[in-house]
C-alpha cells in the first residue's frame, strides 16, 4: 500500500521537485542506508537478548528437573550429576580460588609495571616494553594452558614435592591465569595514570616529594577509579578464562581449600561436558546452561560495576 502511494507521489512530484528546496527533499536511498546500518547496530542487542534467552531457557529447564532445586544448586557442596547432586559450590569455589590466586599475581605486578611505564620509564624504554606487553596479551590462552601444564606444574612439583602437588592443580592454573591478565591490568592502569594531569605531579615535586612519593601518594590515588576498574575487569576475565583451567586445573568437581589439589572450575566443567558427545535431552546439557547463566551473571555484574566505578568516581580535572 505505502509503496504504491510513494511511487505515485514520486511520479506526480516531478514538477514539484523544483519547488521543494534540495535540503528538504526526502531521499529514500539515504533512509535505506541508515536503516541497514541501524540493523547492523541492532545485532548487538539481539546477541545479548539471545544470550539471556538461551541461558535462561535451558537453565529454567534444568531447575524444572525434579532432582534439582535452586536452593541445593546454590548451597549444595557436592556436584555429581550421576547421583543427582547438583551443588554449585565445588565449581564456584575452584573458580574463585583460581581467580583469587590470579589476582594476587596480577594486581601487584600489573600495577607496578603500570607505575613504572607511566612514571619512570623513558620514552625509548616505553616504546620497547609496550609491544612486549602486547605480545604477551596476544598469545592464545591455549598456549598459556600448555605453559601451565608443562612448565609451571613441573616446577611446583619439584619445589613442593610431587606427593603434595597433584599433576593437575589449582595453583598452577591460578598463577598462569594471573600472568595472562597482567597485560590487561598493566595497560588499563597505565591509561588511568596517564590521565592524571601533569600539574598534580609538578605540585608534589614542588613540595619536595620524591618520585616514589609522588607516584604512590598523588598519582595512584588520583587514578584509583581507573585502577579499580582495571582490577574488576581483570577479575571478570580470570573468572571467565577457560583453556588454562581446562588444561591445568583438572577434571572432576571437588570442594577443597587446598590449591595444590585438582579441582574443576565452572568454565572447565562446561568445556569438558560440552566437548563430549552431548545429548540435548540430558540433564548434563541443561546443567551447563545453568552454570553458564551463573557465570554470565557474575562476570556481567563485575563488568557493569567496573564501568560504574569509572564513571562515578572519576576525578574530573579541568
Amino acid at each position: 500500500m505505502t509503496v504504491t502511494t510513494t511511487r505515485l507521489r514520486g511520479v506526480e512530484a516531478a514538477p514539484e521537485a523544483d519547488t521543494v528546496p534540495l535540503g528538504r527533499r526526502r531521499r529514500w536511498r539515504e533512509d535505506a542506508v541508515e536503516a541497514v546500518l541501524f540493523a547492523a547496530g541492532f545485532v548487538s542487542i539481539l546477541t545479548t537478548g539471545a544470550i539471556v534467552v538461551v541461558l535462561g531457557k535451558d537453565a529454567l529447564h534444568f531447575f524444572r528437573n525434579p532432582d534439582v532445586s535452586l536452593v541445593d544448586f546454590l548451597t549444595g557442596t557436592v556436584w555429581q550429576p550421576q547421583l543427582g547432586k547438583f551443588g554449585l559450590l565445588p565449581l564456584l569455589n575452584a573458580t574463585l580460588m583460581v581467580s583469587g590466586i590470579a589476582m594476587v599475581v596480577a594486581l601487584p605486578i600489573g600495577l607496578s609495571i603500570a607505575v613504572y611505564l607511566s612514571e619512570y620509564a623513558t620514552p625509548a624504554v616505553r616504546n620497547r616494553l609496550k609491544p612486549t606487553l602486547e605480545i604477551l596479551a596476544g598469545v592464545p590462552t591455549v598456549i598459556y594452558g600448555y605453559f601451565a601444564l608443562t612448565f609451571v606444574t613441573p616446577i611446583l612439583r619439584w619445589a613442593l614435592g610431587a606427593r603434595t602437588v597433584d599433576i593437575y592443580n589449582v595453583l598452577s592454573a591460578g598463577l598462569v591465569v594471573g600472568i595472562l591478565v597482567i597485560p590487561l591490568v598493566a595497560s588499563m592502569s597505565e591509561d588511568a595514570l596517564q590521565a592524571v594531569p601533569r600539574a598534580l605531579r609538578e605540585a608534589a615535586y614542588g613540595l619536595g616529594a620524591t618520585r616514589l612519593e609522588t607516584s604512590l601518594q598523588v598519582v595512584v590515588p588520583s587514578a584509583l577509579s581507573g585502577i579499580a576498574a582495571a582490577f574488576m575487569l581483570a577479575m571478570s576475565r580470570a573468572i571467565g578464562e577457560t583453556m588454562v583451567v581446562a588444561i591445568a586445573a583438572g577434571a572432576g568437581p571437588r570442594l577443597t581449600a587446598n590449591p595444590l589439589r585438582s579441582a574443576e572450575t565452572m568454565t572447565g566443567y562446561i568445556s569438558r561436558i560440552s566437548g563430549g558427545d552431548l545429548s540435548y535431552n540430558s540433564v548434563d546439557y541443561d546443567s551447563i546452561f545453568a552454570i553458564g547463566l551463573a557465570l554470565f551473571v557474575i562476570t556481567l555484574g563485575l563488568n557493569i560495576l567496573s564501568g560504574r566505578i569509572v564513571r562515578r568516581f572519576r576525578e574530573v580535572y579541568e
Binding site: G138, T210, T242, F296
Partner: protein
C-alpha cells in the same frame, strides 16, 4: 624571637638530611620493585617461548617393528637411500593393494625423498617413538640419555628430531604422534576465520558507522546499543560458545549442517560444522570490531564532514567518500587484531563442537572441523608425552602466524596512518 643554640640548628638539619636520605632510599627501593615487576613480565614471556621451543625439538629414541637391516638394501641407513631405492623398498614390502592406493594418491616415482622416507618409516619399518626428551636435556644431558636408551630400549636408534617439520605442517591428523600433522587443523582454522570475517567485518563496520555518524545519543535505544556493546566485549568467550551451541548447532541445525541446502549428509555433522563455528566466532569478535571502527571513525576530523556537507553532499555520500577512506587504516588494523584474537580462540569452539579426530580436509562450510588451537588443546590433554611435543610444534606454528599478523597490523598502523 628566641635565639636558638647553634648546636640545635645543626641537629635539626642533620635530622632533616637523614630523613631526606631515607626517603630517597625508599624511593630507590620502590623503583627497584617496579623494575623487578617489569622484568618478571619479560622473563615470563621468555619462559613461555623457551618452553615451547624446548618441547618442540629434542632427542627421540625410535624403535622399529621391522628390523631395518632386513628390509633396506645393503643394510644402509634410511637417510642415505635415494628416492627410487625407497620406492622399491615400498613396493617390495607392502601389499599390492596398499601400493596401488599410494600410487593413486600420487605416483611413487614422483614423490620426494623425504616423503618416501616417511612412508617407509610409517608403513614398512613401523617406526615409533619409544621415548623423547626436550631440547635442553638433549643438549646438556646427552650421555645420561644415551645410557638410559641403551639400557631400556636396546634396539632403538637415538636421533635429534625437530617435531616441527614441513611434513608436520602438511600431514593430516593421525593417531600416532610421529606421523600426525596439522594440515586438517590449519585448513579448519582458515575456513572458520573466512566465515567469521565475512560476517563480522561488514556488520561491525556498519554498526560502527551507525553509532558514530547517525545515532542520536539522546535516544535511549542508541545509548542502550552503545552500553550493550561494551558489556558484550566483557562476556567470557565460553558463553558465546554456549550461544552458538544452542542457536546455530541445535536450533538452526538444518541450516548449519547444510541439510536445508541439500549440501551435506546432515546425519554426520549434527550442526557442529564450520558454519556454526564461524558464526559463533563472528558474534564473539563483533564488539571488538565495532568499538575499533568507532574509534577510527571518530579520529576523522569533523571539518572534513562539514566541507563535504557544504558542497551539498548527502550524509551517506560524505561517509562513503570522505569519512570511510580516512578511517580505513584504523579499521583495517582493528580488523587484523580481531582476526588474530579469533584465530587463537579455543573455548567457544570446544563448546560448539570441534571434532576430536578427523583426517579428511574440510571442503565446505557444512563439514566437521578442527582448528589449530583446538588441535593443540587436544594433544595437550593427552597423557602421552609425544603428544605434548607435537602440541608444542603446533604452538610454534600458531605463534608465528599470530606474530606475523600482529606485526603487519602494527606496521600498517604506522605506515597508513592519515594525519590531519
Amino acid at each position: 624571637m628566641t635565639a636558638l643554640a647553634p648546636g640545635s640548628i645543626g641537629l635539626a638539619t642533620s635530622d632533616a638530611a637523614r630523613q631526606v636520605a631515607r626517603r630517597h632510599r625508599v624511593g630507590r627501593a620502590g623503583l627497584a620493585v617496579f623494575q623487578l615487576s617489569t622484568i618478571v613480565g619479560i622473563v615470563v614471556l621468555g619462559a613461555l617461548l623457551y618452553n615451547i621451543a624446548n618441547e618442540a625439538a629434542g632427542l627421540v629414541a625410535y624403535e622399529h617393528k621391522t628390523d631395518p637391516a632386513a628390509v633396506l638394501p645393503g643394510g644402509r641407513d634410511l637417510a642415505a637411500l635415494s628416492a627410487p631405492e625407497l620406492a622399491a623398498v615400498l613396493t617390495a614390502n607392502l601389499s599390492p593393494g596398499e601400493v596401488a592406493t599410494l600410487e593413486r594418491e600420487a605416483p611413487l616415482a614422483e614423490r620426494s625423498q623425504a616423503e618416501l622416507r616417511r612412508l617407509v618409516d610409517e608403513r614398512v619399518l613401523e617406526t615409533h617413538a619409544a621415548a623423547a626428551w626436550n631440547l635442553t636435556d638433549s643438549v646438556l644431558d646427552r650421555p645420561a640419555i644415551e645410557a638410559t636408551v641403551a639400557e631400556r630400549h636396546p634396539d632403538a636408534d637415538l636421533r635429534l628430531t625437530s617435531w616441527l617439520s614441513p611434513a608436520f605442517v602438511t600431514a593430516p591428523q593421525s593417531g600416532d604422534a610421529e606421523y600426525a600433522g596439522i594440515r586438517t587443523a590449519i585448513l579448519g582454522s582458515l575456513w572458520v576465520i573466512v566465515i567469521t570475517m565475512a560476517v563480522a567485518v561488514p556488520v561491525g563496520v556498519a554498526a560502527g558507522i551507525y553509532l558514530e555518524e547517525y545515532a542520536d545519543h539522546t535516544r535511549w535505544l542508541n545509548r542502550a546499543i552503545q552500553t550493550n556493546i561494551s558489556n558484550l566485549a566483557g562476556v567470557p568467550s565460553i558463553i558465546y560458545g554456549m550461544l552458538g551451541l544452542a542457536v546455530f548447532v541445535r536450533a538452526l541445525e538444518p541450516l548449519s549442517s547444510g541439510g536445508a541446502f541439500g549440501a551435506a549428509d546432515p546425519t554426520t555433522a549434527n550442526g557442529r560444522t564450520i558454519l556454526s563455528a564461524g558464526l559463533t566466532m563472528a558474534l564473539l569478535i563483533l564488539p571488538l570490531i565495532i568499538i575499533n571502527a568507532q574509534e577510527a571513525i571518530r579520529a576523522v576530523p569533523s571539518s572534513l564532514r562539514e566541507a563535504s556537507f557544504g558542497l551539498g553532499a548527502t550524509r551517506w555520500q560524505t561517509i562513503r567518500h570522505h569519512v570511510l577512506p580516512g578511517a580505513l587504516p584504523g579499521i583495517l588494523t582493528g580488523t587484523i587484531l580481531a582476526m588474530s584474537r579469533a584465530i587463537g580462540e579455543t573455548a567457544p569452539l570446544i563448546v560448539v563442537g570441534m571434532s576430536t579426530y578427523i583426517t579428511f580436509d574440510p571442503s565446505s562450510p557444512f563439514d566437521k572441523f578442527t582448528t589449530l588451537p583446538g588441535q593443540i588443546y587436544q594433544w595437550t590433554a593427552r597423557p602421552q608425552p609425544e603428544f605434548h611435543h607435537i602440541a608444542a610444534a603446533a604452538s610454534v606454528v600458531l605463534l608465528v602466524l599470530l606474530v606475523a599478523l600482529n606485526a603487519s597490523a602494527i606496521y600498517g598502523r604506522n605506515r597508513a596512518q592519515v594525519r590531519y
